[in-house]
């Protein structure tokens, strides 16, 4: 299925396959990695960042596109919203219907709280449902939470908040057990032993998976449980501004029906932001593996009420996004493909790196191979390197691909590429927001009372780079605990008079800082239409 132009390089990959399978490439030293990242990782491209002029992170640098929406106008005029007759009144308001929001909802409901979810698309439309590779937990004999901690702490450049990371790794086995008890089907041996593999940067095989539909399997199970518990899900409704009470506690949100644009008011005793990531902001013009609604809404909502961001300048570019065919450009090729043995190969048929370096290192290495070294494969619209999937069948035996990564086989199969027989072309794609709102281990923001955050909108759990399988884990661990804690605090909370004064205050700051902008945020959805604005 590859064009004539690609055939010559493809033949080199095929000829070298037997030898490349046996070849054990060295891992990079700490110094080599550092130099590589500084030169080639997008996070270090200074001219792609702007300095925040207002808000709790004033003076810090964040991606240009994020800076613009953090310092944009509100979508509402604060005086035009009537806060005295809320349309919804609840204990716990959860903004976002992905994995973190759903896990939080289930636990808050279990704790006896009145809980509701608002989500701007459908429940389940999230990065969770697209996670393919797996979820980490140190539950094997040769492993421990301490080893998991070291892997994640080092992989995140020693920047994670230790108290968050230790919670992540220590609660991981229990998270897997909780999911199993809900009926999530993990890949297991006949005797019940979990089938686990490596991810980039892991030192033990602790990646649990449900084929390469790991996130989909988790998400659909959580969604089913939310429905079973008859938790209200207000879908196609976005939160466009948080509401505080007169004491400055988070006390609800202004909602907007995505179809009719009707504004609604939800009052709550506690609020959980579980709005996910930011891939659809297309930082630095990168394509993304993220779902349609990943536009950093939670960061905007939080920032406007004064919640602090942590590591918002660090993004994860997944090393293996689809580079060809163009119809699925930027879509995720799970890291599990490399866990199962496929290596990264340049246009000359050479293995140019160890396939299981951490994601930031692998992405930077591919960018270097394609640019400075000129060893990228040119397609009609982009550059890429080969990911030699047929190696998997040679190593694991015929049928391994169909059994372990059926989604990948199907995705390429639709474009006439049989990944069992032909390698695929990949290039980094914008994948994950490493940073986000700063929280304490109970899930509450460090400086806004009763405002909780869970999932990708949190910053600090992973430091400056996240390992594969630690985000499905964090949405469960921190989603659950946010639900439990938000329910507990709601019990002793009395909501005072509702206010949107912070919106006016923020508007004043914009004007005083001399920021000239027409933008309104949160962005909610990207605009891919071809029409010109009238």
């Amino acid at each position: 299925m590859y064009s004539e132009k690609l055939q010559a390089s493809l033949r080199l990959v095929e000829e070298a396959r037997e030898q490349n399978i046996i070849f054990e490439p060295d891992r990079m030293s700490a110094k080599q990695k550092e130099e590589l990242l500084l030169t080639y990782h997008p996070d270090y491209k200074a001219d792609e960042f702007d300095t925040l002029k207002i808000g709790p992170n004033k003076g810090e640098r964040v991606p240009k596109e994020l800076c613009a929406i953090l310092q944009a106008h509100s979508r509402i005029n604060a005086n035009s919203v009537d806060l005295t007759k809320p349309d919804y009144d609840t204990d716990v308001l959860i903004i976002g219907g992905g994995g973190a929001g759903s896990a939080a909802a289930i636990e808050a409901n279990e704790a006896g709280a009145k809980v509701m979810i608002v989500t701007k698309l459908r429940i389940g439309d999230s990065n969770t449902i697209m996670a393919e590779g797996g979820i980490q937990a140190a539950d094997k004999e040769n492993d421990s939470p301490a080893i998991h901690f070291i892997d994640a702490f080092g992989g995140g450049h020693f920047a994670a908040k230790r108290e968050l990371l230790s919670k992540l790794v220590c609660d991981a086995p229990e998270a897997i057990k909780w999911l199993s008890n809900l009926g999530v089907e993990f890949d297991k041996e006949k005797d019940g032993t979990m089938i686990t593999t490596h991810g980039g940067g892991t030192s033990r095989k602790r990646m649990h998976a449900a084929k390469d539909y790991s996130g989909a399997e988790i998400m659909r199970t959580l969604r089913d449980e939310v429905f079973n518990r008859q938790i209200p899900v207000i879908d196609f409704t976005s939160a466009i501004e948080l509401i505080l009470d007169e004491e400055g506690k988070a006390a609800g949100a202004v909602l907007m029906n995505m179809e009719t644009k009707e504004l609604l008011v939800a009052r709550a005793k506690t609020v959980i932001i579980a709005t996910g990531g930011a891939g659809r902001m297309h930082y630095q013009g990168f394509p993304t593996s993220n779902h349609y609604g990943a536009t950093a809404d939670g960061l905007v909502l939080g920032y406007r009420v004064g919640a602090r961001l942590l590591y918002a300048e660090t993004l994860q570019y997944h090393p293996t996004g689809v580079a060809y065919p163009e119809q699925i450009f930027g879509a995720l090729v799970t890291e599990k493909v490399r866990s199962l043995g496929a290596k990264l190969i340049n246009k000359n048929g050479e293995v140019f790196m160890h396939p299981l370096e951490t994601r930031d290192v692998a992405a930077a290495s591919i960018i270097r191979e394609c640019n400075e070294r000129g060893n990228g494969v040119e397609t009609d619209s982009s550059l890429g390197v080969w990911l030699d999937t047929p190696m998997i069948e040679k190593i694991g035996g015929e049928g391994t691909i169909e059994k372990r990564i059926p989604a990948m086989m199907r995705m390429f199969g639709k474009y006439g590429i049989d990944i069992r027989k032909e390698p695929i072309l990949v290039y980094p794609t914008l994948h994950y927001q490493n940073g986000g709102l700063d929280i304490t281990p109970d899930g509450m923001t460090t400086n806004v009372k009763n405002l909780f955050v869970a999932g990708e909108a949190v910053g600090g759990i992973h430091g400056k780079n996240r390992l594969m399988g630690n985000s499905l884990l964090d949405i469960i661990v921190f989603g659950r605990s946010a639900g439990i804690n938000a329910a507990e605090i709601a019990k002793n909370t009395t909501v005072g008079r509702l206010t949107l004064e912070h919106v006016d205050r923020f508007e004043k700051e914009i004007s005083e800082a001399g920021i000239k902008t027409e933008l309104r945020s949160p962005k909610l959805l990207p605009n891919y239409t071809n029409k010109k604005d009238i």
Binding site: M130, K140, I150, C170, E185, T221, E259, P406, R410, T529
Partner: protein, 225 residues
């Protein structure tokens, strides 16, 4: 590279779009700002179920709009929502035999074997087969056969018996995952050890260590083959 253009008909209205686009991006090219019928854009969420027919042909085809290229003279209608039946149940209290299906989804026994579900599946699954497994209470087989389901609902839209296949399969998978699949001893053991506080000291030590020591630990750690 210049793209050739093709004609497509969105809900009957004609648009000219580049032939290399997916149905979803063709809609956007035509000017639609999608809210419904668009989710993950990668074939995992089932938001963009779509029905189409090529002009002059009899066959009605189904697909996911984000995973399918446009063709010339394609008549397209999206199916962004389909009213599936989803029964609420308590996963802790349900029977794990076919009795549960008779109780919650008795319509599966009205299947007339037309196989329209299988023919319409956007994931190419053998839907009628997994319903047959569900009828017989063979939930492990139903789970395996239905595993790649994205719950787009097209099968149910084509079913003359009113079966909500994706929800039936969802129930079977949860029963299988929770009750029928073998338990993991090593997992239960580890959860107990953590509850016991067996790793407490190790973790607390890590919380206190200077960064330089942690760097040393990381850079020299042994990596399992």
């Amino acid at each position: 590279m210049e793209n050739n253009m093709v004609n497509i008909y969105l809900f009957g209205k004609k648009y000219e779009v580049p032939e290399n686009l997916t149905i979803m991006s063709a809609m956007e090219y035509a000017g639609y700002q999608l809210v419904r019928g668009c989710g993950c854009r990668n074939g995992f969420c089932g938001a963009c179920a779509t029905i189409y027919r090529i002009m002059g042909k009899r066959e009605l085809k189904t697909c996911l709009a984000c995973q399918t290229k446009v063709e010339d003279n394609m008549y397209i209608a999206t199916l962004p929502f389909f009213p599936l039946v989803k029964q609420a149940y308590d996963i802790e209290k349900i029977p794990t035999t076919e009795a549960v299906m008779m109780q919650l989804y008795p319509e599966i026994y009205a299947c007339i074997g037309c196989n329209a579900c299988t023919k319409s599946c956007t994931q190419g699954l053998n839907v009628m087969q997994y319903i047959a497994y569900a009828q017989r209470g063979e939930f492990d087989k139903c789970a395996e056969e239905s595993f790649d389901c994205v719950m787009c609902g097209v099968c149910s839209a084509r079913c003359p018996a009113g079966i909500s296949h994706p929800q039936v399969a969802m129930l079977a998978r949860r029963i299988n995952g929770k009750y029928l699949a073998p338990g993991s001893e090593h997992l239960n053991k580890r959860v107990k050890e953590i509850e016991n506080g067996d790793f407490k000291e190790l973790i607390e030590a890590l919380m206190e260590k200077p960064i330089e020591e942690l760097k040393e630990l990381y850079n020299t750690r042994e990596i399992e083959k």
